[in-house]
């Protein structure tokens, strides 16, 4: 199954717009929400192929969203790949917890939209 639909949970408007623009240009269908609560609701309502998840979000952190959707005993989004995209340096413990639950963990400042798309394509190949 190729990645086609993407949910972008990103509260920084400029960064969100940038990702959405590049992903749409590359042919992905992208929905974009700007808060933790909206993100959780969106993820529960529609089975996306990929979720781009920020950590520092209003209302709920990305880590909270991820642990709600993917707990030890159940995965509410088994068909969704999750890429954590953050500029926030979490402590090792929180970072590892998120890494284990996600399919990738990236520092936003270290990647460009082109790089992001190539990472998404490589996720596709892993599938």
């Amino acid at each position: 199954m190729a990645i086609k639909t993407v949910l972008c949970i990103e509260d920084d408007r400029l960064i969100g717009e940038m990702y959405v623009r590049s992903l749409r240009k590359a042919g992905y269908e992208v929905d974009w929400v700007v808060s933790g609560n909206d993100g959780l609701v969106a993820a529960r309502n529609k089975p996306y192929d990929l979720m781009l998840l920020d950590v520092m979000l209003p209302e709920q952190r990305g880590s909270d969203i991820l642990s709600t959707l993917r707990s030890k005993d159940r995965d509410m989004i088994p068909d969704t790949k999750v890429l954590v995209l953050t500029n926030f340096e979490q402590d090792e413990e929180s970072r590892m917890a998120m890494e284990h639950r996600a399919d990738g963990y990236l520092i936003k400042a270290d990647i460009t939209p082109r790089k992001l798309i190539s990472i998404i394509e490589s996720l596709d190949h892993d599938h």
Binding site: M18, M96, K108, T112
Partner: protein
Amino acid sequence: MAVEKPKPQIKDFYRRHHSRSLAIIVLFQFVSVAVLAGALIVSNILAHDDPVFWAFLALALIVGLSVNIIALGVVIDPVKAITAALSYVAGEHSSIKPPNPNAKRYDHDGTKTMLDLIYKLTYEHDNNSARTTDAPSKANVRTLENALSQSSSSMIVFDTKRTITYASSHAPVRADTKGNLHLDLMFDSGDVSFEYWLADCDKNKLDSEKIWTRVHTNPDSSATPRIYDVAASYSRDSETEIVLVIQDRTEQYAPDEKDLDFIAFAAHELRGPITVIRGYLDVFEDELGDELTAEQKTLLGRLVVSSNRLSTYINNILNVSRYDKKHYLVELTEQHLDDIYDTIAHDMETRASTLGRLLAIDIPHDLPTIAADANSITEVFANLIDNAIKYSNEGSIIEVHAKVAGDFVEVEVLDHGIGMPDNVVHNLFHKFYRSHRSREQVAGSGIGLYLSKAVVESHGGTISVRSSENKGSTFTFSLPLYSAVEEKLKASNNGNNEDVIKTKSNWISNHNMYRG
């Protein structure tokens, strides 16, 4: 002004009764000893000036007092229990805990029957008065409801059948089709679940308390997601067997900037704009590439390089801060050195060419694999190459070579630049160290080499420099061959060999790897 006499309290009865009994015992004992003394003197058994006489009297007094006081304690104990129970049911404020009628000693001395009766009568009386005097009771409930609804707390009460008998207005509960209430929380934050705790209480405890933090609303629920702290108390067979006091902490658990480490916070703020600058520069390169003149391309290249370097600096600062706090961890996995370099090759090439240096990379693909944390090693490469660019002249060549040396792969980063005198070389890997001359000539923070040393040493390797003035410098660092440390790496994961390489569970704190 007339002072109103305080109403006598039941809890004071025991203390008064005890003091009075004690006074009587002491008085009685003195009288007894006096009578005994008189009898001894009259019967000429002992003379009043004989020391034995006084010693005997003192002994009689002490023994008599002790025996009587102990006897008093035993005799008065049921009075104490009954008074405490009466004081409790009378609603007096007291630090004395009400006696538990099920305690063994009360069963033994027969006080249990009386205590049971006191509690039973009170329970019946309270229930009757609740029924007959409904108004004040309702008012109390309303006050409690109002109080709870204006705070961010809520309360849920379960009876012994685990039915929710009370839930305040904001409480996270949902009703099923029959109108029964259910707890709408998901206890999954690595702690024991609510159900598990309850089962444990039912099996092993009479009373218990437990607090969960960061409990989320059930994700299946239609309610707006919230995050709570939950304090539960359990009291077996009580009418309110389980009471949950729930504090809504959604606002607090959302990003709390006060809690952030200042450096992490500053880095987060700096990285936002950099993400956008780097991102759109990338978009420009991609979309305008063909339309730009050669000069415009060079200018764009400079922007790209500068923003990339800014990003590296921020990572350096964060990593140094983590290293200094002993939070810096490396994840050693099997890697090809050339693959690691490839991830930053384009960036390095752009940095060098934009500043007019040539980069000659010689990392053979057939080198044996190394045990390395790929991200950290790219930072070492970037710092050493950046340094070589800074301290060399335009048009000069920067070389990177890699070869096997014993159990390590040795990497050299070599420039033909300004070099350094010997006295500078010794201090080079110290934090914030910058030679007098470099301070005048080149901008920099002096943490790149300090960090590189930290990273390399965390891998079990070494870093060194050879330099001569006006000829250039060669930085050499070594990284362990994977084959040389494979066993150690596997052993460090409790023998779970397969996982060591494939998963991310093998984080190794620096300073403890390969030492000793």
